[in-house]
Point group: C2
Chain length 151, copies 2
DNA sequence: GCTTCTTGCTTGAATGATTCAAGCTAAAAA
DNA sequence: TTTTTAGCTTGAATCATTCAAGCAAGAAGC
């Protein structure tokens, strides 16, 4: 994988604001890409694709397909596609929902739970955010939160 | 497009660090997704796909295919695919490179340059980063720069 | 000079993620 | 009860992306 060089500069004049903002978008995308690559690499170690790893990561407990799709920010049909693969490997089961007979409840098998543990451990190692101190991560969190919640 | 709710919390204990870091990754991805959606929306207004818009954005001057592929962080074959579309619409031309007869030099036509102007204008409007002040954007820039340059 | 290797670009096949439309069942509302 | 909405699945279609292969031309070696 190749990376275009990114140069740092602080803009002060107003007309340069747009330019700086665009570069900032590039930085966000760049970091997001690194995170995505990181996930893909670690997922591959466990014979998972990136979406499968994302699904597994979000399976903190029994969830419905709809809920999982929301967490994965994708369509339910896409979630079906991904979950089919995981179920085919025996990592989880579709149980009937206790109160809603339309819904499925996704429950990890023992094997699935074990694999999830390994995945979470792998994801934590050499994180793309490791270059930032705890305080910096908190600051970043705050800024991103503000940017996102602005709409 | 739907968005899973994101809750804010500040972690202090060490074992919670990993959790906070993962949530931070989610935030970065979330913002990146918003930026990508923003680009896609604005691109669609000009009958462009997101990759086409990205290519157009990166065409600041005459560049080779390889250089464009680097800027777009993709394979040259992918750049060929995208540039074919733009060339087919008469937005740019493949000129022979002045010194390297293997290479192509991508040059915007007048129409292409005009469309690029409109695109850049659209991209600047209601940016996903508009919720942050200039100082906050600078701070974010610094943090992202540090995170990315770490590796 | 002549090889060998590398680089720039393109083509075509393949993959993989994603979306959409359609349909089914069941819950919820009227 | 009837109608509408929600959860899930299937299948077709799309789109971005990658990979392998190949061609042409520059670069480096002898």
């Amino acid at each position: 994988m190749k990376w275009a060089p990114i140069t740092m500069a602080v803009m002060t004049t107003p007309e340069a604001h747009a330019i700086a903002e665009r570069r900032l978008c590039g930085l966000v995308n760049g970091l997001a890409r690194r995170i995505a690559d990181h996930v893909r690499d670690r997922a591959a170690m466990l014979d998972l694709t990136a979406p499968q790893a994302t699904a597994l990561r979000e399976l903190t407990g029994p969830v419905t397909m709809r809920e999982l799709a929301d967490r994965m920010a994708c369509e339910p049909s896409n979630a079906t596609f991904v979950i089919d693969k995981l179920e085919g490997r025996g990592l989880l089961e579709r149980h009937p929902h206790p109160t809603d007979r339309r819904a499925k409840q996704l429950v990890l098998t023992d094997e699935g739970a074990a694999l999830r543990e390994r995945l979470m451990e792998l994801l934590a190692r050499e994180s793309p955010l490791a270059g930032l101190s705890q305080e910096e991560q908190d600051a970043l969190h705050g800024l991103l939160d503000k940017a996102i919640s602005h709409t």
